[in-house]
Amino acid sequence: MDAQHKILVLDDDVDWLALCRDQFAELSSHPEILTANNAKRALALLETEKIRLLISDLRMPRIDGLQVLAIVRRRFPAVRTVVLSGLEDEEYRSRAYALGVDLFWLKAEMQRNSKLFGECVESLLGQSDQEGDTGFRGIQSKSLLDIIQMECLTRTSTVLRISRGPLVAKLWIQEGELLDAECEGASGEAAFHRLLAWKTGAFENLPAEPNRGRTIQKPVNALLLESAQTLDETAHPSTEPDSVEANLHRKTMWKLAQLTREGAEFVVAVPLSVGVPEALGAQNVDALAQWTLRATEIARSLGERLEAGPLLHVASQSLERQTVLLLRGERAFLVGWPAEADDNILDKSRKLVALWES
C-alpha cells in the first residue's frame, strides 16, 4: 500500500486544475495530486500510476465525464470516483450515481464549502486504506428502508444525504444509531417519517458528524415499523367522512405551513386539461388560474415554433409581487412572492411545488 495516496483530477479547464491542485494539496493526508485536461491522458495515467481517487468533470470535449467514468468503473474498479461538475441538473447526478460514482458535488458548492468537500475526499481515501480494497459499491434500486437498515446493521457512522429533485433530506447515523433527521422543514422523528414516504431519489454518504445533538431516542426498528404502518394507512385511507375531512384539513394546514415558512404569498395549482384549480393564499384564484393557463399555452406554442426546447419556467414581475410558473406533470403551478423577495425564488418555488405534490 502506498504511504501517499494519489488523486487524479480530470477537467478540460486548466485554471480549474491549478485551483484543485492547490486545494487538495492542503488535505491533511497530503496526497499526491495528478492532473489531466483530457480523458485520453487521464486513462493513460490510470494505466501507469496507482491512483486511489479520480475526480472528474462531466462536460468535456470529445469524451465526456460520464463516458470516462463508465470506462474507469469497468477497467479500474478499485478506483474511487468523484464527480465535480458545474451542471446543476438532477439527471446528471442520477446518471453519475447509476454509474457507481462515490460522490457527486457541484463546483460552486465545493468552492463554498471546501472544508466539507475536503473531509469527503479524505473519507474516501481513508476508506480505501481501512478496507484494503474490499467491499462492494454501486447500490441501485434499493428502497430507502433497505439503505437505512443496512447502514444501521453495519453500525456505520455517516450522514446520509438523500435528494429528490429540489428536496434534500439528511439522516445522521452514529455507530448504527439514528441521531437526527431533517426533511421538508421538519426535524427529528417527524422528519424521519416524512422522509420514508419518498418513493424515489438519490443518496450519498457524507462524513459522520459525531457531535450532532440527538433528537431521536427511539430505536431505528421501532421507527421503521411506525413508518410502515403510517404508509400503509395512507395507501388505504379510511373512508369515514370525519376521517376524510380531518385528513384534508391536515394536508391544507401542512401546505400552508410550508408556504409561510418559505415566505411565499400564494400557490395556485391549475390542471392543464380539465379540473378545478387548487389554491392557497390567493384571493383572485380564477384570474390567476386563467393567466397561468394562458401563459403556459402561449409559452409552449412559442417554444415549439422557435424549436427552443421544453419550457422550464416563466418568471414575471409586477410592482406588487413576483411570480414563478412551473409545470409539473399534468398541472401548472403559479407561485407568488413578495416584490422584494430574494433571487432564490426559483429554487424555493421548485421546492414548494415538489412539497405540494408529495
Binding site: 479547464d13 480549474w16 468533470d57 462531466l58 462536460r59 461538475s85 458545474g86 451542471l87 446543476e88 457541484l106 463546483k107 460552486a108 383572485n284 384570474a287 390567476l288 386563467q290 393567466w291 394562458r294 401563459a295 402561449i298 409559452a299 406554442s301 412559442l302 417554444g303 415554433r305 422557435l306 424549436e307 427552443a308 426546447g309 421544453p310 419550457l311 422550464l312 419556467h313 416563466v314 418568471a315 414575471s316 414581475q317 409586477s318 410592482l319
Partner: protein, 105 residues
C-alpha cells in the same frame, strides 16, 4: 445511393435561435431590432405578438406585469413592458453561452 434524399429531400436543417434585442410598439410593430437578419422576420414578429399577448392577458386578470421571462431549455426570452409596447431580450442558452454566465462546468 441517394434514394433517401429523393424521398425526403436534402433540406434538413436546424433552425438557429434568436439572439439580440427587439423593441415593439403597442400594436406589435417592430421598432428596432438587433436580431440577425438571417433569423426569419415572421418569427421575430411572432415573439413580439406573444409577449404583448402575455402582458395583455395579465392586465385583463388584474395583475399588470412590468417584466416577464420565458425560460426554455435552450433559450431565454425576457421582456419589459414599455407603455403598452415592450423591449424584448433574447439569449440562447447553449453550452458555450452558459459557460460564460454560470458556474464553471
Amino acid at each position: 445511393m441517394g434514394i433517401l434524399n429523393k424521398i425526403f429531400g436534402t433540406q434538413a436543417s436546424i433552425q438557429q435561435l434568436p439572439a439580440g434585442t427587439v423593441t415593439v410598439d403597442r400594436q406589435g410593430g417592430i421598432v428596432t431590432s438587433t436580431v440577425s437578419s438571417a433569423f426569419p422576420a415572421p418569427l421575430v414578429q411572432a415573439i413580439a405578438k406573444d409577449v404583448l399577448e402575455l402582458f395583455r392577458e395579465a392586465r385583463g386578470g388584474q395583475m399588470p406585469l412590468s417584466e416577464v421571462s420565458l425560460h426554455f431549455s435552450s433559450l431565454r426570452i425576457t421582456a419589459r413592458e414599455l407603455r403598452g409596447g415592450a423591449i424584448i431580450f433574447m439569449c440562447p442558452q447553449t453550452a458555450s453561452f452558459r459557460s460564460l454566465t454560470t458556474a464553471r462546468s
